[in-house]
Amino acid sequence: MCKGRAWKLLGVNLLLLTIITGSTFAVGKQEAVAPETEVYKFLNTWGMWDLSRGRIPIEEQPQSPYWQYVAKKFGAAPLTISWEWEGAKGYVSGLRRMLAAGDIPETLLPYEIKLTSELIEEGIAIPLDDLLKKYGQDTYSQLTEAEWDSVRAQSPDGKIYYIPLVQFEGRIPSSLIRKDWLDRVGMGIPQTRDELVMMYRAFKKNDANGNGDPNDEIPVSGREGMRWCDDLFMMHGVSMYEGHPQWRWHPDKKQLISEQVSDEMRESIEFLRSLYKEKLIDEVFVIQSAGDWTSKIKANRIGHYLHLPWVIDTFSDFMSDFPDAKWVYMPLPKVPGKPRQKTMFQRVGFPAFMITKQAKHPEKIMEWYNWSQTAEGYLYQTLGIPCVDWIKEGGQIKVLNKKVPFYKYISTPSKYVPEAIRLTPLGEMKIKIIDEAKKNIYYGPDNLGMSSTVYEGYEDFMPENAKLYREWCSKMVVSELDMSAWDEYVKKWYASGGEVITKRASEWYKKMKGIK
């Protein structure tokens, strides 16, 4: 019945076997980057927007000719990682998890002001003032002193710890309307809000996209949190950036009022509500993900959407079936009772670049970053490697290779080089839109440069979160709540912290502008 010692050994051996087998199969941590070769490879985290187009794993990046071009040029090139789903939120939480794991990259895109402050406070970020002076002049000249001061204001010692995204003209948020749809329904570009609604109705009723089906058109759409339909807000006078309500100074009240609770916002919500009732706006837009929104546009289903002119070609998949498709810019339509509004253009965007204390050769990194802000850098970013993908012959640029990947291992450029844009797919259309858009902007918002300490203890009120606003106003739009709930909403907003931050914000503004 009972056999020999074999059983005891078996027990121990099984245990060891399972451990060993498991270890060989279980994949380990992401390999650390060895910065010993002549090219300084630095770990960079970058936004998913660039990388989702043609992202390749880190191990394979050095084989890319674009990586090699950058490496040769600067003796340094980034190994770039990102996190792709759940949009910007997913990116930031992936970044936070990476930092929590103790992996601190040499450079990163902070995106969130709060994370930026944390990194500055903890001494993870290094000051960039000297580096900018020595190696980053092109970058530095992108912004005015006042704009740099708003960056300095975010740190306790007044130094520059990050470089914000500088929005160049190609990034002006523009109302993009399908001209071919307009032609099919026999209408012109709407000039007033009523004309806009008429256009929506026409899109909805008829076969505006020309595919034979009159029922698949969505006149206008947006994304979760009521974002990326900013023009519908801005035409009422709301100051908004990427769907996040900002602040506006009211000289009569001597207060900085948050757009989350302004009268103009109320008007916008009422308008959206009427659109929703008539089913003129995408019925799922209040919870729609970026991916779904993008694919609807690419499926030729959306007639009017808001986005950035310089990348309209990335939404043009349907053009293989409809080569005559055209986009046209629409200045904000006039709303009854107020003058025609202009688009708010925030030149200083989110924190886009930070060098950490892990960086061994920050000078090389700064040179690399700086180049992306030059015209040369822009040409590279748009067209590719000179003499390989394009050449300049007698003052004219000729494109040799049309299929270049989007991400080319430099950071997002900020110089507006029309001739380069012209050479990209749909280039002429882009230039036309940008030219018109430029005429219809004003610079803002009033809270530009406001330190995030204003929101301390009330992070839910930050424009990027705006929890109460998103919840209540979304419900008013989809008629879950009556418009009469607005007053209750405003009261609640002020009572649960809005009053405190409004006071703080107003104080900041008055101090900054020297108003008593």
Partner: protein
């Protein structure tokens, strides 16, 4: 069989109508269970525009295999990879867990005389059932062990599922002591008792615990959400979630792809991931029924 039927008829004593009603209710309930799947099936075989227009309810319209083919075209590598990872986690993780849990259950099932530490260990196990650590310190601890972004983070954290440990302990306790004693008299150590006597007798309960564990690991969601960043290591459920959420943006191709991010491909994915389970679970039905009974009665 006949006798059972006769017994039931005696038990019944009701009218034919009430009998019919019961059958009807059960059919309705079964329908409620199955209808969503039929709807998904229909959508998965329909053309996206038909689905979006709301014309597909129980039968496909403009039948196409495109929704399934879509995964072959655009997501083949990530899908099969996450599938493979989940198979690995489930297979190895279950074996690992069974082994460790059995190893710990045996001493815990011994009397206080033999194993003084028993009550303390049981106390720890029961405490763990009641109190799952708060998510943030849990996350911070696991990452401090260097398990971030590894498959070990899932396997190690499921080394022992406390509830299963209790099940095994209860079962081991009621095994006849005389078998153990006779083995000891023959000069057998505890190892021998465990492997030669206890294990063969526990096949049924071990199978049940294995199934419970396998289900947990196959469907694991929160752990990879917390600990795994690298998309190459996403287990199945995380990959599924990325598709259902519409966030995963496949590489941009210049031609129009009518299937991208549509409702119909999501339905196809639901069906794809349900099929393996439908195929496997009838075989497991017997065991986990036993297990549920064991579990409940032991309480």
């Amino acid at each position: 069989m006949r006798r059972a039927r006769a017994e039931r008829r005696i038990k019944g004593g009701g009218t034919a109508i009430s009998g019919l009603l019961i059958y009807l209710m059960l059919i309705l309930i079964a329908l409620a269970m199955v209808l969503p799947f039929i709807h998904e099936l229909a959508k998965s075989f329909s053309y996206p525009s038909e689905v979006d227009a709301g014309r597909v309810s129980l039968w496909p319209r403009k039948p196409t295999l495109g929704n399934y083919y879509y995964y072959y075209r655009k997501h083949f590598v990530p899908l099969s990879r996450s599938f493979g990872i989940t198979i690995y986690i489930t297979g190895f993780g279950t074996l690992w867990s069974i082994y460790m849990t059995t190893l710990m259950a045996y001493p815990l099932s011994r009397s206080r005389k033999e194993f003084k530490f028993g009550p303390v260990a049981m106390g720890i196990a029961i405490f763990s059932i009641i109190m799952f650590p708060p998510i943030i310190p849990y996350f911070l601890a696991i990452r401090s062990y260097g398990l971030m972004d590894t498959l070990w983070s899932i396997i190690i954290t499921h080394t022992i599922v406390p509830f299963h440990l209790i099940l095994l302990v209860a079962f081991f306790r009621q095994l006849p002591e005389d078998l153990f004693d006779s083995c000891r008299i023959d000069g057998g150590s505890d190892w021998r008792i465990l492997f030669q006597i206890v294990l063969p007798l526990s096949k049924a309960v071990l199978a049940t615990v294995a199934i419970f564990t396998a289900i947990i690991l196959w469907n694991i969601f929160l752990h990879p959400l917390l600990f795994i960043n690298n998309p190459k290591k996403f287990p199945l459920q995380i990959f599924l979630r990325s598709i259902f959420q519409g966030g995963a943006d496949p590489e941009v191709l210049l031609q129009r792809d009518p299937f991208d991010n549509t409702e119909s491909i999501k339905s196809a994915l639901v069906i794809l991931t349900t099929i393996p389970i439908v195929l496997v679970y009838p075989l497991l039905q017997k065991h986990f029924i036993k297990g549920m009974m064991l579990g409940a009665l032991k309480e």
